[in-house]
Symmetry: C2
Subunit: 187 residues, 2 copies
């Protein structure tokens, strides 16, 4: 499909969507994490569940993103990564990410977030040191990319809740599926 | 405390807070409900848990509301209900509620919502007919009111997911505690 108009800026895109209060979102997300910790006990299981939730959410959000952003097919993984960082993060969380640390093949890069609405007011107790609190985000990226035919592995390499100086997730493209009706029908 | 300035309008208030995409919030909330149904099995238990989550969230949100809205103490339950409907809902969800169906004593009223961002894309399967999907909202109201010294019971009387024509929750003031340091320290 040819684009009907040029892609919107991140700010215009964020202004164009329905929004709710960020604190409500943060507290609601915190309630999920707490609930999962209570129910599942093992931190590794919580990480897995958050990732799966994010994956499911990502496969849905990609439709709203494509519908509203006027972004047509990105030519390659690099352009896709830039689009996610500048437009995707902005449209959904109101912040932007930096794309950095590309490998020589152009198949692995990092998203670095300095501002992260998910973690306001969050402090991890000692019993949760293995928790990837923001695993829903890496799941969203993985789910959204899979819907545009890119299989990825996404892992956290820096996490301010663990004392690092930023949030950094490493995104590795493992397989690019030929694009052919990649979108599932909503029904 | 005397008010330092007049209360903001709902629109100004909503514009003044950090926000995230409503669809992300809706999908995230949906992920919690689904998780609770899987974990707890009994719909009644899910309702209880959502209410408790909402209560916890409400006790936190009231601080942001009071800090940003310039609302000082409301004189009575009626004024409090109007403030929640016009400013509280707007500040957090971007919608307003109507206050109606007051009883003769002025201690019970209804909040009616025609637009409810929580339920976009939601359809309940037959196995979930007893679910109060939006129970987090009634919990938030209960929690927030308790922090300003009003004990309430909040129940759903209409629910569009159950085929009604609007969302209506009934709020009954059961006890008004004399106001004396009602806020817990954040630590």
């Amino acid at each position: 499909m040819a684009p009907l108009s040029t892609p919107k800026s991140g700010d215009a895109l964020f202004a164009s969507v329905e929004r709710v209060n960020a604190e409500l979102f943060t507290l609601t997300y915190g309630a999920i994490v707490r609930q999962l910790i209570t129910d599942l006990e093992e931190v590794e299981e919580v990480n897995k569940q958050l990732d799966q939730m994010g994956y499911n959410i990502g496969t849905r959000l990609v439709d709203e993103f494509l519908a509203k952003s006027n972004v047509s097919n990105c030519v390659d993984f690099k352009e896709t990564a830039d689009t996610i960082a500048k437009l995707g993060f902005k449209m959904f969380l109101g912040v932007t990410a930096t794309v950095t640390n590309w490998d020589a093949e152009g198949t692995t890069c990092s998203f670095v977030l300095e501002d992260n609405p998910l973690v306001d007011f969050v402090e991890l107790p000692d019993t949760c040191q293995g928790l990837h609190y923001c695993n829903v985000l890496s799941g969203v990226i993985r789910g959204a990319l899979e819907m545009v035919s890119m299989k990825t592995e996404v892992t956290w390499v820096r996490d301010m809740l663990r004392g690092d100086d930023a949030y950094e997730m490493r995104v590795k493209l493992t397989k690019q599926v030929p694009e052919e009706y990649p979108y599932k029908d909503d029904d």
